[in-house]
Symmetry: C2
């Protein structure tokens, strides 16, 4: 049976940027657009040219994407011709192959928000689309508030859709702008629109997550016959966000009835990269990825319940609805239960540490991990510290050097020009063999900015490790994450440090203490020790 084509329209760069606190730079927009193109979406809505300088700058690039680059705007304003509307002109000037114009379909909005007559609005829609199709652009009509408008006045709402369709719009996109429509209504109304003569293969759906149903509403529209889905990566978007394509795409490709009925521009191979794409966006936004996200969350295939964990070992399909690797994810069996031991051995083997199945020290390591996790340690995100913990328990972790003491000072005062300046300084005393070494460093960077006590401590620690210095010369800190794991005045701090060597190899270590400097120092020591072991220092 031949499959029906479903089209995916991404608006991460436009509606996604409506997320509170989100403002992409042009470079970030380009990075996201390339990732979307690699994923295989059909349209990339890049922004509203003219409304926002970054957007115009973005459209000035020629990325040569396979996906159709699309500019967003609004139908011409009443009282001027389409050709004389400067807002519309700016949108067309972006020169994109496709143009999506938002227009009113809800009589209440036409009269209240726009303050024009219903007839004037219909004309504005028709003339706008005649104008852009005359310029041979692919035209999309973003039918704002369609579902509310249809409930209020179905006849008028439909006449707005027809006006755009008759004027040459390729796609009529039913928008639930306020996100208040529930899946059953989206399905029913979409079906009625098709019954009223708007072909399903010309219909798109654009949902928001204000009731937590954006994904389900999109599927309901497809069930009813719509053939384009609009959404964003990680469900970014105005208010509660848009339909999350990272949740929708795996469902469309992997689960029936969709998998057997439809095909999209996304291949199974590209699907395996969707987790990385999702993480890339979180990195750009410096957001902590949602552990519980459908398909791509770090916990999406974590089996904590004892019953589940043991059954999973017999057959993964007992508690997994899809194989984790199909979306680039992986199974996690928490080590804090019986099923954990074999899982622990697997993780150690992966780190090149072989342990016998019956080795009693495995239980000890699990208990130690449990204990330390209660104290605030987190080993999921600190594989290198996990390995060192195991090595210490197994007597496989040489003590390369001993830290005798350190002292960090942060001083803030007025300089000669009476400007307030801050300077951090660190002294570290380590003993290598029977040789004692004192190192001192301050934390001023090239630009003269003080980067704080942890930076100073790292510089001092990495300054002179005698025979081991050569091993760490090519290593540097690439990221530093801080989390208070207990609120209140008893606050305990968890620090996770990502390090990298000249070959681009990355490793993560963790430290925990009520004193943030101590926590950081612990993570720094682990980072160095792991590097020395990895490079075979002795």
């Amino acid at each position: 049976m031949t499959k029906t084509r479903l089209y995916l329209y991404d608006t991460t760069l436009r509606d996604g940027q409506q997320t509170q606190g989100v403002q992409f730079s042009t470079a970030e927009k380009i990075q996201i657009a390339r990732a979307l193109d690699a994923l295989g979406v059909d349209h990339i809505e890049g922004g509203w040219p003219g409304a926002n300088p970054t957007d115009s700058e973005f459209f000035a690039q020629d990325l040569g994407t396979r996906a159709t680059m699309t500019a967003f705007g609004m139908t011409k304003r009443v009282g001027r011709s389409a050709g004389n509307d400067d807002v519309l002109a700016a949108v067309l000037d972006a020169g994109t192959a496709a143009v999506c114009l938002v227009g009113k379909t809800h009589e209440f909005h036409v009269t209240t928000a726009l303050g024009v007559t219903l007839e004037e609005n219909l004309t504005a829609i028709a003339e706008s689309f005649q104008h852009i199709t005359a310029k041979t652009r692919e035209a999309l009509f973003d039918a704002e508030h369609f579902f509310d408008g249809y409930r209020a006045n179905p006849k008028y709402a439909l006449s707005c859709l027809r006006a755009a369709l008759d004027a040459g719009a390729r796609w009529i996109v039913l928008c639930d702008t306020n996100g208040g429509t529930l899946p059953a209504d989206v399905g029913r109304i979409t079906g009625e629109v098709i019954a009223a003569g708007i072909p399903g293969d010309r219909l798109g759906i654009h949902c928001h997550d204000d009731t937590g149903n954006a994904v389900a509403c999109s599927l309901a529209a497809v069930d009813a016959g719509a053939r384009q889905i609009q959404g964003t990566l990680n469900g970014l978007g105005e208010r509660c966000g848009n339909a999350n394509l990272v949740s929708l795409i795996p469902t469309l490709l992997l689960k029936d009835p969709y998998a057997s009925r439809f095909e999209t521009g996304v291949t199974l191979q590209a699907l395996a990269g969707i987790l990385r794409t999702s993480r890339m966006l979180d990195d750009i936004l410096n957001r902590v990825p949602s552990r519980g996200a459908a398909y791509v969350g770090a916990s999406a295939f974590a089996h904590k319940a004892g019953l589940h964990a043991s059954a999973i070992l017999k057959d993964p399909t007992t508690y997994e609805h899809i194989p984790p690797e199909t979306v680039g994810n992986a199974r996690i069996i928490p080590m804090s239960n019986q099923a954990g031991q074999s899982n622990l051995r697997a993780r150690l083997a992966a780190a090149g540490i072989a342990v016998e199945a019956k080795d009693p020290r495995l239980g000890g390591i699990l208990d130690d991990i449990k204990l330390r996790e209660d104290q605030g340690y987190a080993y999921d995100g600190a594989q290198a510290s996990f390995e060192l913990l195991a090595r210490r328990a197994l007597g496989l972790c040489p003590q390369f050097f001993e830290v005798k003491r350190y002292r960090v000072t942060v001083e803030r005062r007025k300089n000669k020009r009476n400007q307030t300046v801050t300077l951090s300084e660190a002294v570290v005393v380590v003993k290598v063999g029977d040789k004692k070494m004192l190192s001192v460093s301050e934390s001023m960077d090239a630009s003269g900015t003080d980067r704080g006590p942890v930076n100073a401590l790292w510089k001092a620690l990495a300054k002179d490790l005698g025979p081991y210095q050569a091993y760490i010369d090519d290593m540097h800190l690439v990221d530093f994450k801080v989390r208070i794991t207990q609120g209140g005045t008893e606050a305990v701090t968890r620090v996770i440090i990502d390090s990298e060597d000249s070959a681009g190899k990355r490793w993560s270590t963790v430290g925990v203490s009520p004193n943030i400097v101590d926590a950081s120092f612990e993570a720094l020591l682990d980072a160095i020790t792991w590097k020395l072991i990895r490079d075979g220092a002795s």
Copy 2:
């Protein structure tokens, strides 16, 4: 028309605790149970007595909740009588009014996971429910993997439901254990179960969010006739979590067809407290509340798009599907646009700072906020710092004292007993009027634990402020949040400090710097200054 009763079953304390990294203390479980009872759910599933010491401890309490306290367990094991199954006995020993037992309904699981015959499993279900109903407990059957089981062998899956029903189970709960079933299938199969003779008013639905559809699947089951919804606060739960009751409850109470067809135990008054309940759980878990959460997210009613913001001012219903206050939320119009100025004035007025509508300084304050937010400041969570920023711009912020300099030292060394100890010490020099004061403090707490440089700094700063000392004697730090707002080595740190006075009044301040000590110091200064202004110091 009389409304049909829908029942809400909360499993935050049981399935919710299956969330990776979540482990409630008994005190936390009690706090959550009281909040759930105040909200108005019908059942509170408290845990699995016997499987987990905390759970047994929790059930030992008598909270006198209106909601039915429920213990979770599993049907008796094959090969022993219900009366001789110690696991089942432990569940009954908890003495709860209701008991929910999970049992198999999927032939594959009966044979693969349990390794018993289909007949033995049916008998185990029947005898288990006869046993607990004989003890006059309200009995619920958690039909594990029901949807997958029904697809594989509908006849057997249904016979499992009937076995429990005939043995006296009050509720038959259809569980989509793996979370892989989509809304349309949940609706269809629930309808077929009712058609097969299991009454809808005896049916519950238990969904997981592995495809991002748990809320929609729950609604689909209700549409088909199920009358109990199981879920958790904030969608906690195994893997991607359970159906989120914080999303479902507002939909059921505020939106049609549900609002007009059904009633629950939740009043509109209690609904207005649901945001607080959601935040309380995040506080317990020390989680950053999801800004985009349906109904209760901080961004759920934030109107960033210019078109939206201006229309909202004309009529909120133009871009809001429900009034924010009905769920205890509030509208946010970002201040970085025209609509922002009136919003800014409103926020200032709320802080007792009156500014004329046309005051040009309003624009300056907005620009300043925008600029500082780009640097990493966040004023949403730091109202006191926001007020001070505005006061400075308006010349309403007296300089009570001047910080000449400070110095913080963190030292780690071996003590006489050769134990590694860390000590933080801070020296602060402030000038009040023409009087200079030096204060020094260390950060050791009562238990002898070093609490780090920020703690030492706070103690030194609050030690002697001369004439202002009396104003700050009753203030203390209650929370400290750190966030790295730029990743990598250029990391910039945002610190938010919550302070409280003896009257229980709380206020939040923010500081930003590449140096975490400096960032903290800035937030501390704001905290003190705000207190002095609030208490009318001069």
